[in-house]
Structures are given as C-alpha cells and as structure tokens.
C-alpha cells in the first residue's frame, strides 16, 4: 500500500475471517446472549425501575417453575422446532418459503376434520391417518408455488405469502362450518369426552408424543440434509443453480421434491398443534410460528439440533412473558422487546464470527 492510499484508508475496515474454530464460535454466541441480557436488564431498569435479575428469575419460574409449566414450554418449543425443521430444506435451497403459516393451517384443518368425522376409529389408526393426511395436505399446499417456481420461475416469496391468506380464509370457512356452540365462531375443544384423535399420554405425560415426533423428525432431517444425495443436491441448488445444472442436477425436480417435503413437515406441525396441543382449530392455530420458525431455521444454519436449542430459547421467552406480565406488571410488549433485543444480538454475533473489524492503525501494520 502506498502512502497516498493510506490517507484514504477508512478508519474501520471489515475483513472476512477464515474458518473459526467451534470453541470460540460458541463463546461468541453465548457472549452475545449474555450481553443482550445485560442490555435488556439496563433497559428494564431504566424504563420501569424494576430489578432486572428479579424479572429474569420470574421469567425462568414462569417457563420452568413446575413440571406442568416445563412441559407447556417444551410443547411450544417442539411446535416451533417442527416448523423450523420443515422450513430448513427449503431455505437451504434458497427457496423463500414464507408460507409455513398456511401449510400449518392446512395440516391443522385436515387433522381437525379427521377428529370430527372419524372419531369412531381407535386412537392409533386415527392418529396415523391424521398424520398422513395432514402431511399430504401441507405438501400439496407447498406444491403449488413449487411447481410455478420450477416451471415458470415465479416469485416464490410472494406466492407462498399469498397462499397464507388463502389458508386463513379456508380456516375461517371451516371454523364456521364446525363451530360449537353454534353462533360462537369457535370450534371449541373437539371430542372433549372421548379424546378421539388426541395424543395419548405416554409415561404419564401428555406431551411425550410431541417430543418423540419432533426429535425423530429432527434427526431424520439432519441425516437427510447432511448425508444423503438429496441433501447434497439441495445444498448445490442453494449455492448456485447454474452449478447444479452443470453437474446434471435437475433443478426443477429438486425444487418440487424439496418443497413437497418442506410442506409435509409443516403440515405435520399443524397436526401437532391440533391433535397434540389445542384440540381445536382457529385462524390463530399457527399463531405466527410459520414466521418465527424462519428465524429459528436461519439462526441455526439449518442444523436440526441448533434449531431445537433456539426454539427452546424462544419458547422460554414466550412462557416467561406471561409470568412477568402477571408478577412484574410488565405487559407482553415487554417480552417482545426482550426477544427482539436478544435476536438482534445473536444476529450480530454471526457477523463477528464471519468478519472482524480492522482499525486503520492495525491495517497499516498488517499491510
């Protein structure tokens, strides 16, 4: 570098790092969460005058204060993780599937329909039917935008987003069709007496099956993305469609196949929501999880196990929110704020894992 150019040298430069070892990576990530908690704490204290440690303790108690609370939190975590697992292959392929919300609802509608119309069947076959049909419904819902993308290269972000609104309207239609009591505009708890189509208790816990199902899906998805030919094709298409074509991969086939899979898992999430948690269907059954899960999938870099961890963090913050509203007189906006700050810091930590800042003086020395 000549002396002339050194004058123009910016004060701070962003330099790409080489591959970081996993030890420091994890330290940076944990550090970012700790820093975000401190920032939130300062904010809480400045705005409300509350002791932030007490607020965090209350949140923790709200999420894990009793066995029942812990399982409710875990149920939420599994739900979110399931959607994220569904989204992972699509996003890894750089297919912006914003339509998980709709795919969940469609799976939920089908599950609720089975619960209402096939309630004479024994639990096990009924659950199998619900699982299969809701997966199929979710897959079909995702197939439409996938085919349009593969054949005519339509914008999948808009397409999948619009499909959400169609799904919400369909849900409203079925809610008014199935409403109970009539005129209430709610379906109420389905099969409250017979519990037909409900997840059975396993080991004395209602949500054991949720855990088994989602953890199994997580492992399968991890293997699929990491060790199979399909998974490799997804990665190649995601990195460069031209490379994929050059390597003889049929891009449109991969897009359609991957979206079928993605939609199917999201449909299963709808099954999980209806059969494994609420036992009813409403337009809020998906509850924004289809969007939250995008963050989960990206932050985890599509690694199933990180997805479980991040889903746990978000479910914990969600469960804790109700408790701080109750005990600390902070309403749910306060926890939205905390979630926002924590996510911001986690995102920022990714930046510092990939890049480092070089100040002018250092730059000279390096040069």
């Amino acid at each position: 570098m000549s002396d002339n150019s050194a004058v123009k040298d910016p004060f701070i430069r962003v330099v790409k790092r080489g591959d970081m070892k996993s030890g420091p990576k994890i330290c940076i990530r944990i550090g970012s969460v700790v820093v975000s908690l401190i920032v939130c704490g300062i904010l809480i204290n400045v705005i409300t005058g509350l002791n932030p440690v007490a607020v965090y303790v209350t949140m923790f108690k709200g999420a894990f204060g009793s066995t029942r609370r812990s399982f409710a939190t875990i149920r939420e975590m599994m739900m979110l993780a399931c959607v994220a697992i569904g989204l992972a292959p699509a996003f890894k392929m750089k297919f912006w599937n914003i339509g998980a919300e709709g795919q969940i609802l469609i799976g939920g509608i089908v599950s609720a329909g089975c619960m209402i119309n096939l309630n004479m069947l024994p639990t096990f076959p009924l659950l199998i039917i619900m699982f299969a049909t809701s997966a199929a419904a979710g897959a079909l819902w995702a197939l439409l935008p996938a085919v349009f993308k593969a054949k005519w290269n339509t914008n999948e972000t808009l397409f999948t987003l619009m499909m959400n609104y169609v799904a919400i309207q369909l849900t409203s239609f079925f809610v008014s069709k199935w409403e109970n009591p009539k005129g209430s505009n709610t379906v109420g708890i389905i099969n409250s007496n017979t519990q037909a189509g409900w997840f059975p208790e396993i080991f004395g816990q209602k949500y054991t099956l949720n855990i088994i199902l989602v953890v199994t899906l997580a492992i399968l998805m991890w293997v699929y993305l990491k060790y199979t030919k399909h998974g490799y094709e997804i990665a190649v298409v995601g990195d460069s469609e031209n490379t994929a074509r050059y390597a003889g991969i049929s891009v449109s086939k991969v897009i359609i196949r991957t979206m079928l899979l993605s939609g199917a898992v999201c449909g299963i999430a709808g099954f999980l929501a209806v059969s494994g948690a609420s036992h009813t269907i409403s337009t809020s059954t998906a509850g924004g999880r289809g969007f939250t899960a995008i963050i989960v999938a990206w932050l985890a870099k599509f690694n199933s196990f990180y997805m479980l961890l991040i889903a746990l963090l978000l479910a914990f913050l969600g469960s804790g929110a109700t408790e701080i509203a109750s005990k600390c007189k902070l309403n749910d906006y306060a926890s939205d704020m905390i979630i926002g700050i924590i996510l911001f810091f986690i995102l920022a930590s990714e930046f510092f894992i990939n890049y480092r800042l070089v100040f002018r003086k250092h730059a000279k020395e390096e040069a």
Binding site: R68, P181, F291, T322, D332, D336, L347
Partner: protein
C-alpha cells in the same frame, strides 16, 4: 460472502415481520388506550360495592385466579380488572392473593393458564372471554375441587359439572335505558324541526342505526332492547343493523356508522367494543350532519364530546363480589348468574351535553320501574313479529342449538337471561332491519 449478508438481512427482516405479527395478534391496540376512559366508565360502580357482610370464611387465605383476554389497555378487560379489584377489597381478599393472567388467547394457553393457577393454589378461576369457555370446562373436568367460571359463557348448565359456572349481566336493561336517552333526543330533534326528509323512511318513521358485532342472540337481545327503549319515548322509529363480524374493529365499526348515517340514521347505537362508531358520528356531526351516538362499555365523551349521548355499561364488581363471597365461604358459585339494575350490575354512563332536557328524570323513572318489576324490557305488548303479538318463544337449553326446549314468554314478557345467564332473545321484531346478516 454476499449471500451471507443477504441471508442475514433477510433474517433481520423476518425478525421485524415477527415483531409486526405479534403486534397484530395482541388483543390490545393503541386505540383501545384512547378509548380507555375506563375510570369514567366504571365510576358508576364505585358506590355499588357492598361492605364485607355475609363473609364467614377466612378471606385472607383464599387465592383467586383471573384469566383475561386482554390487559388494562382494552376497555372490556379493564372493566373486569376494575370489578375484580373492587370485589376483592370488598370481600377482604388481599390484593396479592389475586393471581392475574393477562392477554391469554382463546386456545390451549387458556387451559394451561387455568391449570397453572390451580397449581399455584387458587380455589376459584375466572375467565372473561367467551372463547375461553371450552378450555375452562376442560380444566373444570380435571380439577373437581376448584371452581371455574366462564364469564359470558353458556354451557355450564348443560355441562353437568358442579364446579363450572357462567355469569353475565342483564346488560339489555341498560341498553333499554340508553334507548330512552336516544328516544328523548329524537323527540327533541323532531319537535325542533331539525330533521330532513332523508331522516324518515317511507312510513314516516325516524331512522336510527345500530352497529352490531355478530348476529348472535347476545347482540340481537341488545339491539332489540335498545330499539324498544327508543320506542318507549318516541314511537315512530325504524332501525337498521349492520354487523361487522368482529368484536373490536375500529375501521369496520366507523365504516358501518358512516353508511348508516349516509342512509339517514339519526342515532347510531353499538354492540362492539371500539370507539370507531362514536368517532365517525362525531366527525359527521362536526361537518353539519344531524347524528348522535350511543356507546357500549366505556364513556364515549372522550372521543365524541358533543355526539355521544351515553353508553350502556357493565358493573362487574357486583358479580365478582357475590362470587368471591361464595368462594371464601366455601359455597358453590351459582351455575348461572345474571343480574341487572336490581343489584346495580349494569348502568349507563354520564349523560352527554347534547342530551335532551328532562332525560335524567325519564331515565331515573325507567330504572326505578325496572327495579320494582313494573317495567319489563321485552314486554310483548310493545313489539310484534311479522305483524303479530308473540305469545310463545322456546329457547335452547340442552345445547342442540334448536330453540325448542323451554318457554321463555309468560306473564306478558320474554324472560331474558332467567333460564340461563347468557342472553337468549333471538326474535327478529318488526321495525328492525338487519342489513348484513351472515
């Protein structure tokens, strides 16, 4: 590298969209805060609280759980919070023994919240939204030692559970009285010759409008009571009803009020929770139109200082006080509770400055007549259905949604909320037109 930046940007965008989404689903809105002149609305309730007579148990040991669909920023929930606090004070339950669950959606979170309250030692759990009902009932089945109350619900009697109850106020009485306020105003406007031809229908009736939420009995009962109240003062009126299909939708309610006013309606009543309609009426009045508003839940004078006449409102502390006493005394909360003016469980808010002279006297007279039983809101001499007097109306009591079970009409009036707490008046009477029905 570029892709990484793009992906991070996307994740950041989705983070924002997440925030936006959760904003959408939250039951509170900033406008709710505007509307929340709740202190005024519930002022009527302060004197109604009775001292802690009839409390035999140890109130300081009792823990009560309250599940709310919103928080204090929303008028409807604010009124419940206020009622619970006053009742706890009246019965002597320490404030710390009331455990709150705010902003609980109408899904399994309600069940989780109810069970969690039981785990924390509550012996009675109340929820304030209709959609909570089936989750409360589920919790009641599993926790037979704890009493559960689904306010505004309707399935307790047929659930067969000893520990599950419903409660509602006789809000139709207050709506009738608010109708009287509107009727006085209409009479004044007609006498002063302020109405134009557009304000009369083909038969020479003055047109009034009503913004309803859903075409349910609760709403039908309310608008019919309001209409009959107007009619008791000024007989020649006809009413048009528009449904918004939402309990809280400021824009839709404002729009409905505007189209009713465009059609010539002089007074706009409402059974929806926002300030949309009164705000629209106020701006129409300011632009020179003749239009006035009768609100619901909260005093609307804040948003419609000259257009608002009054609002029909609930005083929940009356119910909570009775129910809390039962809990403290270890007695069963009544399965169906519905009371009105006799216990001051309903009221109308302070009369606006635009009210006609002599309104207060007329209102007091009607309230006294309702209290002493000489006035029945749904007196069958005052209305007709398809041109004929009604001498029989069966209502549904067994939950099959067919109105075929018990006779509600006797002694010359429809016995509203006597067979069950939730409103059941479903007759569409002459003089009222539903413009948008599902």
């Amino acid at each position: 590298m570029k892709k990484k930046i793009i992906s991070m940007a996307l994740a950041a965008i989705t983070a924002f969209s997440l925030a936006a989404c959760s904003g959408d689903t939250a039951p509170t809105t900033p406008a709710g805060t505007d509307a929340g002149d709740g202190e005024q609305a519930t002022e009527a309730g302060t004197e109604a609280v009775t001292p802690a007579e009839g409390v035999t148990g140890d109130a300081s040991e009792v823990k009560i759980g309250v599940i709310l669909v919103g928080d204090e920023n929303e008028g409807y929930t604010y009124a419940h919070i206020d009622g619970v606090k006053k009742a706890a004070e009246a019965v002597g339950i320490p404030a710390d023994n009331i455990l709150w669950k705010y902003s609980i959606p109408e899904d399994e979170s309600c069940y989780d919240a109810a069970i969690d309250l039981v785990d924390q030692g509550c012996t009675a759990v109340f929820s304030n939204s209709y959609g909570h009902q089936s989750f409360m009932q589920k919790a009641a089945e599993e926790e037979p030692d704890v009493q559960f109350v689904s306010m505004t619900g309707d399935t307790a009697a047929m659930s067969g559970l000893d520990n599950f109850s419903n409660a509602f106020t006789n809000i139709y009485e207050a709506r009738y009285v608010s109708g009287i306020v509107a009727g006085m105003k209409i009479a004044e406007l007609v006498d002063a010759g302020e109405l134009s031809d557009a304000n009369f229908d083909a038969d020479g009736n003055v047109k009034i409008g009503y913004v309803g939420a859903y075409p349910y009995a609760e709403v039908v009962s309310g608008y019919t009571a309001f209409y009959l109240g107007v009619k008791s003062v000024y007989d020649k009126v006809s009413m048009e009803v528009i449904y918004t299909n939402s309990w809280f939708d400021i824009a839709a309610e404002g729009e409905a009020a505007n189209s009713l006013m465009a059609d010539g309606c002089v007074v706009i009543g409402q059974h929806a929770d926002s300030t949309g309609a009164p705000t629209a009426v106020q701006s129409a009045l300011d632009s020179g139109k003749v239009a006035y508003s009768v609100g619901y839940n909260v005093d609307m004078l804040g948003v419609a200082p000259t257009a608002a006449l009054t609002s029909a409102t609930n005083n929940w502390s009356v119910y909570y006080t009775e129910a809390f006493k039962d809990v403290v005394n270890g007695e069963k909360i009544p399965t169906d509770w519905a009371k009105g003016y006799t216990e001051d469980a309903v009221a109308i808010t302070t009369l606006g400055e635009s009210c006609a002279a002599g309104t207060q006297e007329k209102v007091d007279e009607a309230i006294a007549a309702i209290k002493d039983g000489s006035l029945h809101v749904f007196d069958t001499d005052t209305f007709t259905v398809d041109g004929a007097k009604v001498d029989s109306a069966l209502v549904d009591m067994d939950g099959d949604f067919e109105n075929d079970d018990e006779e509600a009409v006797s002694d010359g009036y429809f016995h509203e909320s006597e067979l069950r707490a939730a409103p059941s008046f479903y007759l569409r009477i002459d003089g009222i037109t539903e413009l948008t029905a599902e």
